[in-house]
């Protein structure tokens, strides 16, 4: 029997996560079945790890605190929402100053707007304040893993190639350019 395996935290740039619109249907029989999205470069993601800069934070809660944080990497912006069910993460956002480097581990959340647009966000499990060294390492690691995924799509060894081709009509080359400019930005 397969043992419980923790979901790997994928490394995805903000632009790629923003472009992500393929949401896999959950197994309705299993209340604990994880929610996955498939990104344009073919990563099947439930958990994500990002390091970026807190650019804006706002308590948008009415009764209880509910924080929305904008965290940016060299390619775009992640939206992180933390409320009463993520008390530790909400506390870190509340105490953090803008701008500051934050590392976030969390689950990718998806929301479909009335006109059918899929919006992605991150529901944090842990947030910590980090430094530029950690940010740089994350950018290099994320660039390398993005380029690897592109390579696997190109040589057709990606496990999710069919889903990607069926769903996305995007030019894969642009994500190579995203990775390159991200790398160049921290040189």
């Amino acid at each position: 029997m397969a043992a419980f395996a923790r979901e790997v935290a994928y490394r995805i740039f903000a632009q790629e996560l923003r472009d992500t619109t393929l949401v896999l249907e959950r197994d309705i029989e299993d209340a604990y079945a994880p929610q996955y999205v498939v990104t344009p470069t073919g990563a099947k993601v439930n958990r994500i790890f990002i390091v970026g800069t807190l650019t804006e934070k706002e308590d948008i809660g009415t009764d209880a605190e509910y924080w929305r944080a904008r965290i940016s990497d060299p390619t775009g912006t992640f939206f992180v929402y933390a409320g009463q069910y993520q008390p530790d993460a909400a506390r870190v956002i509340a105490d953090a100053s803008v701008p500051e480097f934050l590392a976030v581990v969390g689950k990718v959340g998806v929301y479909t707007t009335e006109d059918g647009n899929v919006m992605t966000s991150i529901r944090p499990e842990a947030i910590s304040v980090v430094d530029a060294v950690t940010r740089d390492r994350w950018v290099v690691e994320t660039a390398r893993q993005t380029l690897d995924r592109i390579r696997k799509l190109e040589d057709r060894s990606s496990q999710n190639i069919e889903m990607v081709q069926e769903h996305y009509s995007l030019d894969i080359e642009q994500y190579r350019q995203v990775a390159i400019s991200a790398l160049e930005s921290i040189q």
Partner: protein
């Protein structure tokens, strides 16, 4: 019975595939056939059951509750047996034509009725008055454990003799199969001798252990003895040779001499086991232990992992341990020794993640103090000041989560036992340039 079960198993598995619609029809056919089979068997026992009733119960279990077909069949039969006060063995026992004569290596399912031609390879000491005889029987294809119940009232089996043994049930425990001889089992001695494979254990190196259920000999040193967590286990720990270390379990029942940490031994007739892709060796009654004069140099296979610390598990930070057994206390209580005055310790159980794989890691006090920058004494003060020992864990999370580390150590079950750890420094321009050079 066997072919029927296999076909049914196939359908159950296929039912999960995308061709669901088509298979549902075939599933219905199977339900009808199974129900017909059950009805016929009950008719032979002078019980007439409404076929729709059997079908309804079967399909409810299979389709609504998603019970595997075989389990559903078993459950439905049990229900009607109870309903009509029929003994299990009367239902199953008389299905003589149905039990198949098979080879030991064919046994791959529990709760099957089987007949074997086999030789008694070993008799072990019975551990329970309910068990008349227990041991190993073998044929050309392998060996299997057997249990002969005292209630079964069967003739005594003699080691080395070959028998035709009809109507046994198969059983499974932790992936290993056995056969049980019950009241309906028939035993008759065979004239010809059944050949059994050479079970002679080979001397192997620890890093060569890659299969469970193998009989092996080892020359190894006891490197760690752990606290036994169960009374059936006499000793448990690690043994190592030049190629690596492996977990061992020595059962209390095996009545073997006491192993001493740091001493080297020649071990014979151990059985390998596997759990979650990690191997271990088990001592049993036929194992032997002989101390040797050589001091075996143990080669520790170390693993390195670089990644971000993405989670710190419960039970990390400032903890208290039982002064008697050293186990971590749960809510101030030792599971073994009850309420004790615990000794403070620091540790971190973390999840490291490199975007490709996760690795759980255990940081002991020394390592925790060095990366967390908090000593046990400081941690105690923090806890006293805050009236809450969780402040230490919170502070650790703040200092460590989201950072990249390279850890090295040996792997034990799920955890990498960290022997050294390094916070990853800055990225060199060279690293970025060479990555860029690959793609531009």
């Amino acid at each position: 019975m066997i072919t029927f079960t296999l076909l049914f198993g196939y359908l159950y598995l296929s039912g999960c595939s995308r061709m669901k619609h088509k298979l549902d029809d075939r599933g219905n056919v199977m339900i009808q056939e199974t129900s017909e089979q059950i009805r016929k068997r009950f008719l032979e026992l002078d019980v007439d059951i409404e076929p729709g009733e059997i079908e309804r119960r079967l399909s409810d279990l299979i389709e609504r509750f998603k019970v595997p077909a075989q389990e559903a069949q078993r459950s439905v039969v049990s229900y009607f047996l109870r309903e009509h006060k029929i003994k299990r063995e009367d239902y199953y026992g008389a299905m003589q034509g149905e039990t198949s004569s098979m080879r030991i290596s064919d046994i791959d399912q529990a709760e099957q009725w089987v007949s074997l031609h086999a030789k008694v390879v070993q008799l072990w000491e019975s551990t329970s008055p309910a068990i008349d005889q227990v041991g190993l029987i073998g044929d050309e294809t392998g060996t299997i454990k057997f249990v002969k119940w005292a209630k079964a009232n069967l003739p005594a089996l003699v080691e080395g003799k070959s028998y035709s043994i009809e109507n046994m049930t198969t059983d499974e425990w932790e992936g290993r199969f056995s056969v049980k001889m019950n009241r309906t089992t028939r035993i008759s001695e065979l004239d010809e001798e059944i050949e059994t494979p050479d079970r002679e254990a080979q001397l192997v190196a620890i890093d060569g252990i890659n299969e469970s259920g193998k009989w092996i000999n080892l020359r190894a040193k006891v490197t760690q003895l752990w606290d036994s967590e169960h009374e059936s286990i006499d000793q448990i720990g690690l043994i190592g040779d030049e190629t690596g270390t492996i977990k061992f379990v020595k059962w209390a029942k095996s009545e073997l001499p006491e192993l001493v940490e740091g001493k080297s031994y020649s071990f014979e007739n151990l059985v390998t086991d596997e759990f979650e892709e990690r191997f271990s060796v088990k001592f049993n009654k036929s194992s032997s232990i002989k101390e040797i004069d050589d001091d075996i140099e143990v080669g520790y296979s170390t693993t390195e992992f670089t990644g971000a610390m993405v989670h710190i598990q419960d039970g990390s930070g400032l903890i208290r341990r039982c002064p008697i057994c050293n186990r971590a206390l749960m809510k101030g209580t030792c599971m073994e020794h009850g309420n004790v005055d615990g000794i403070h310790d620091l540790r971190i159980k973390a999840v490291m993640d490199d975007g490709i794989a996760v690795q759980e890691a255990l940081f002991n006090r020394e390592i925790t103090e060095s990366i967390g920058g908090i000593t046990v004494d400081e941690a105690k003060e923090m806890a006293v000041d805050a009236l809450d020992h969780n402040v230490v864990l919170d502070e650790m999370k703040k200092r460590l989560l989201g950072r990249y580390y390279t850890i090295t150590g040996s792997i034990l079950d799920r955890y990498l036992l960290v022997e050294s750890v390094q916070l990853m420094g800055g990225i060199s321009d060279h690293e970025i340039e060479s990555l860029l050079a690959e793609v531009t």
